[in-house]
């Protein structure tokens, strides 16, 4: 997923967001290890990286709007099928 995002950025933008992407990757891996984020229609998830933030406000936001995200491919958890979520670089 993050590789998809990185592919959208030029080299300079990737460099600016290297820390953010590294931290997001660690967080996603940790989340996958515990079975993902189940929002269950109650609490969506929103996280921003890097932490602490950069002074120029460049960052990467992770959003899980509904359902369950960050689970291993093929892991049918029985969670809702429609799981819109996004990874967005912010300038």
């Amino acid at each position: 997923m993050l590789e998809t995002l990185m592919g959208k950025l030029d080299r300079r933008e990737r460099e600016h967001r290297a820390d953010a992407l590294d931290q997001a990757r660690v967080a996603i891996d940790r989340t996958v290890a515990v079975g993902g984020i189940p929002t269950d229609g109650r609490y969506p998830a929103g996280k921003s990286y890097p932490q602490p933030p950069r002074t120029d406000h460049r960052r990467v936001d992770l959003e899980v709007w509904a359902g369950r995200a960050f689970v291993k491919d093929g892991n049918d958890s029985g969670a809702p099928k429609e799981v819109p979520h996004g990874t967005r670089p912010q300038s």
């Binding site: 997923m1 967080a27 969506p44 996280k47 799981v83 967005r88 912010q90």
Partner: protein, 144 residues
């Protein structure tokens, strides 16, 4: 350098809970009329990772506006921005994000910003969210 309270909140559950309590205290100190009028409720976002990202959140389903507070450990770094959560969807929410440390100064600044956001005043409320680059994810990355 300002003293950062609960600097070990990321590893010490007691410090984490104490930090949560401080932000909840800030929220509860806000004008109750403004909170009740627009149906504000907390929490809004998942905090199951207990990493301070976010440490506190609240939202008004009526206004589709939200507050997200992220806590880190550096006293000299305070950031605030607006974001459209779930941008492009019917459930989009206009959020104020405050990214700071737990110091007296940062809490005071956060209090002013949250109050302004609740009361629809100041440049905080009038500022426009930054443009963003959205990335469509392959469906295989969505949960089954």
């Amino acid at each position: 350098m300002a003293r950062v309270r609960n600097p070990d909140f990321g590893t010490n559950p007691l410090s984490y809970e104490a930090s949560v309590g401080e932000w909840e205290q800030l929220w509860n100190s806000m004008d109750r009329f403004a909170r009740d009028l627009d149906g504000w409720t907390a929490p809004w976002l998942d905090t199951s990772m207990r990493d301070g990202n976010p440490i506190f959140s609240a939202w008004s389903p009526t206004l589709r506006r939200a507050i997200r507070i992220i806590q880190h450990g550096e006293a000299d770094t305070f950031a605030v921005w607006r974001n459209t959560f779930a941008k492009g969807s019917a459930g989009a929410v206009d959020e104020l994000v405050i990214n700071c440390a737990l110091t007296d100064d940062h809490v005071d600044r956060a209090r002013e910003l949250v109050a302004a956001w609740l009361e629809h005043r100041s440049e905080v409320a009038r500022a426009r969210p930054r443009p963003s680059l959205d990335v469509e994810l392959p469906h295989s990355h969505l949960a089954a």
